[in-house]
């Protein structure tokens, strides 16, 4: 008898197959139990390790023993000339089939229910802390089938001129803002619909991915002094047209806002969406009569969404231009406040000067339009960063009440609560709402990762961060969060270095990323590399606080007290009032 046949006779192959399938199933169970029971991370690794160790043991036992009608017997006690007990092989076959069926059921379940809704679904998964009211979260964050919902797909540019694409995108953006004023309807944000530009996906598929029941699509053509817009509203379930219209007007800001207002009212009618008198008034209002101001505003929004330092600086200039052209353009004042706050925060220069600009712009926006939710959102953010979450809460709540479809308001409110650790679970729920409105938003996805990190759900946080990087590799901020995570939470300097170098390629003069590199090299004990990066920081801005701070950490590592103190003395006047924020 050959060795192969002997292996077959002793059921070694069957045991091997059965063991692999069973081990895989056990690993899935362990993967579920670790977060659910808040077991330590090593538990899962331990299970995997034991299963690997058990494999040769199982093969050895299969070789050495046999199941017989008299029980398990040692091979040496069995007559080798007699065929192996036929029943035992059959039992093993049944067991393997049963395990394979269980694995198949699990696989189908996982692929059907685990990956449906991207980031919005991410927030509802099972790793929420035990104290989280997961039932509420799931209801609020998951697919909200009872609520009217719409996604406005990017409009086709039907002009022959490529530069009209920007105009087309701007109209699309403004229309989204107008439709979002219908409080009873969920409106998917711009960042999440933009990836469907030129898509070949069917309407029902898009609707499923974005969690909506209706889709608006259309095209725009700018022709001399005329603008032609056609739109159609589609029922995402039946794929049937609910309403369609064609507009041919003279090109002016007033006419563009009038068309947007007509489309929004028509959608509300077609879907029987409730519109309060205040909402109707806001929908019919004209934000600006200046086409140039409107275009500058649109460019500013687009630049700010990238969260790239240089782009955010350019965004401040665009918004300044918009308010210069039309000082009564309230949303552009919000843009001034948003962009100045974000730019100075990201560039670590936030302080009295930037707060003065932000406060002034918020005041002007609210003086023009006291019901502008977007203005209350930035008011909340600015208050939070200076005074803490409690003082900011009223402004955030006001923002959400006035503009329930403004994902950023939910996001910033959630972030403020994340600092107030007692309300971490609320923060995660609010971020889920933000993700529902803007499921493809990188910044919201990243904030969700940070929320998971804050409650110690590290594997969940890492997956969330990596999701964002995968969805939007050009979003350098996601790399920043990953770098922080790998450094502080999981002690992976090699991973931190990999992502810090990637971030630097995308945003080479960002002092935050360069500072990360200094810290990573210092942590690795590579002082020369840290000093080299510091030199690059000096070339960007020698007087910047972050550059001096990096110098400080380098000299602390060098055990050079005199130089350290000299750097500290230079740095101290640059530290803002509350450096802990």
């Amino acid at each position: 008898m050959t060795f192969f046949k002997e292996l077959q006779r002793r059921n070694v192959f069957r045991i091997a197959i059965g063991y692999v399938v069973l081990a895989w199933l056990l690993l899935q169970v362990s993967d579920t139990l670790v977060p659910a029971l808040r077991l330590p991370d090593w538990f899962h690794s331990g299970v995997a390790f034991l299963l690997i160790l058990g494999f040769p043991v199982a093969l050895f036992l299969a070789w050495a023993y046999e199941m017989t009608p008299d029980g398990i017997r040692s091979e040496k006690d069995i007559d080798r000339d007699r065929p192996a007990t036929p029943g035992s092989g059959r039992k093993l076959d049944f067991a393997i089939i049963g395990l394979l069926a269980a694995a198949l059921v699990y696989f189908v379940w996982e692929s059907r229910f685990e990956n449906v809704d991207g980031m919005a679904a991410d927030a509802t998964r099972s790793e929420l802390p035990s104290s989280t009211n997961t039932e509420t979260t799931a209801t609020e964050v998951g697919l909200d089938k009872d609520r009217l919902s719409i996604a406005v797909l990017p409009f086709d540019n039907r002009s022959n001129l490529e530069e009209d694409q920007f105009f087309t995108d701007g109209i699309h953006d403004d229309l989204l803002t107008t439709i979002a004023k219908i409080g009873s309807m969920k409106v998917i944000s711009r960042t999440s619909v933009m990836e469907y530009r030129g898509t070949v996906k069917k309407i029902p598929q898009i609707a499923k991915e974005l969690g909506v029941t209706t889709i608006l699509e259309g095209g725009i053509q700018r022709s001399g002094s005329q603008v032609l817009i056609n739109v159609q509203l589609i029922d995402a379930v039946s794929d049937e047209h609910l309403w369609a219209e064609y507009y041919d007007r003279e090109l002016s800001a007033e006419n563009l806002f009038a068309i947007q207002s007509e489309i929004t009212n028509a959608i509300a009618d077609a879907l029987s969406a409730a519109l309060s008198p205040e909402e109707k008034q806001r929908i019919d209002a004209t934000a600006t009569n200046s086409l140039l101001a409107l275009e500058a505003y649109q460019r500013g929004r687009r630049l700010m969404a990238t969260r790239n330092t240089e782009n955010m600086k350019s965004a401040t200039e665009e918004f300044n231009q918009a308010v210069e052209l039309d000082p009564r353009f309230a949303l552009a004042w919000v843009g001034v406040a948003d962009s100045n706050h974000l730019y100075s925060t990201y560039n670590r220069t936030i302080g009295p000067d930037s707060y003065a600009i932000v406060d002034d712009a918020i005041g002007r926006a609210l003086a023009i339009d006291a019901g502008l939710g977007e203005a209350y959102a930035i008011k909340g953010l600015s208050t939070w960063s200076r005074k803490g979450p409690d003082q900011a809460e009223a402004a955030f709540k006001q923002a959400i009440a006035l503009s329930p479809n403004y994902a950023t308001a939910w996001q910033w409110y959630a972030n403020s609560l994340a600092l107030d650790s007692g309300r971490m679970n609320e923060s995660i729920e609010l971020l889920g709402r933000a993700a529902q409105l803007d499921p493809r938003s990188s910044i919201i996805g990243m904030n969700l990762g940070t929320a998971f990190k804050s409650v110690g759900l590290y594997s969940r946080a890492e997956r969330q961060y990596l999701n964002v990087v995968e969805q939007n590799p050009d979003f350098a901020m996601a790399n920043n969060s990953l770098i922080n995570f790998y450094l502080a939470e999981v002690g992976r300097y090699d991973q931190a270095l990999y992502f810090a170098l990637k971030a630097r390629v995308r945003d080479p003069d960002n002092l935050r990323y360069l500072n990360h590199l200094v810290n990573i090299y210092l942590g690795l004990g590579d002082l020369a590399a840290a000093e080299n990066i510091h030199q690059q920081m000096i070339e960007v801005d020698a007087n910047h606080r972050v550059v001096n701070a990096a110098d400080l950490w380098i000299h602390l590592r060098k055990d050079d007290p005199d130089r350290t103190r000299a750097v500290l003395d230079r740095l101290l006047p640059k530290i803002p009032d509350r450096p802990n924020i």
Binding site: G456, E489, D494, L497, Y498, G523, L524, G525, L568, P579
Partner: protein, 160 residues
């Protein structure tokens, strides 16, 4: 607060005290604790400074507030309290056993950032020469060395 931390490292307790005080004037306001929840170790550094500069009562009060927040409030929210270096608080109160446990837990959780700098703080004198502390530091260095090798390989493969 980082400036106060640096002055404490440099050994100028008076300057450290002034800087900690000016960074957060409401240190002793218990309503402020959650707001600075991730900065408990600065609070305990400030406690150490207060205790060692004649403000013992205020220092003990601040230490007690910070330690209670770490042990009772924060630990109910996450099992990773050790990422906040609570041993600074335990060492300030003289509890070397809890401090060593905290450091060992950081090792187990891979919270390895900035050990070299923080361990220069004066409160670590209590454990600096203890075998358990030295073993933890050595193990951390071994983990970092492994990562240096990974980085070398990544460099070699052109991945960085």
């Amino acid at each position: 607060m980082y400036a106060g931390f640096v002055e404490l490292l440099l050994g100028d307790l008076d300057r450290a005290k002034t800087l900690f005080q000016s960074a957060t004037p409401d240190w002793l306001d218990s309503n402020n604790r959650d707001y600075t929840y991730s900065m408990q170790y600065f609070g305990c550094m400030f406690s150490w400074v207060l205790i060692n500069t004649g403000d013992e009562e205020k220092g003990r009060q601040l230490l007690q507030t910070n330690t209670a927040f770490l042990d009772e409030t924060l630990s109910a929210r996450t099992e990773h309290v050790d990422v906040h270096k609570p041993e600074i608080c335990y060492l300030t109160s003289g509890d070397t056993e809890k401090a060593l446990q905290s450091i060992e837990k950081q090792l187990a959780h891979n919270h390895l950032e900035d050990w070299d700098i923080y361990h220069k703080l004066p409160m670590y004198d209590l454990i600096r020469n203890l075998p358990r502390f030295l073993a933890a530091v050595e193990e951390r260095e071994r983990i970092i060395s492994e990562q240096r090798k990974i980085i070398e390989n990544m460099n070699h493969e052109g991945e960085l």
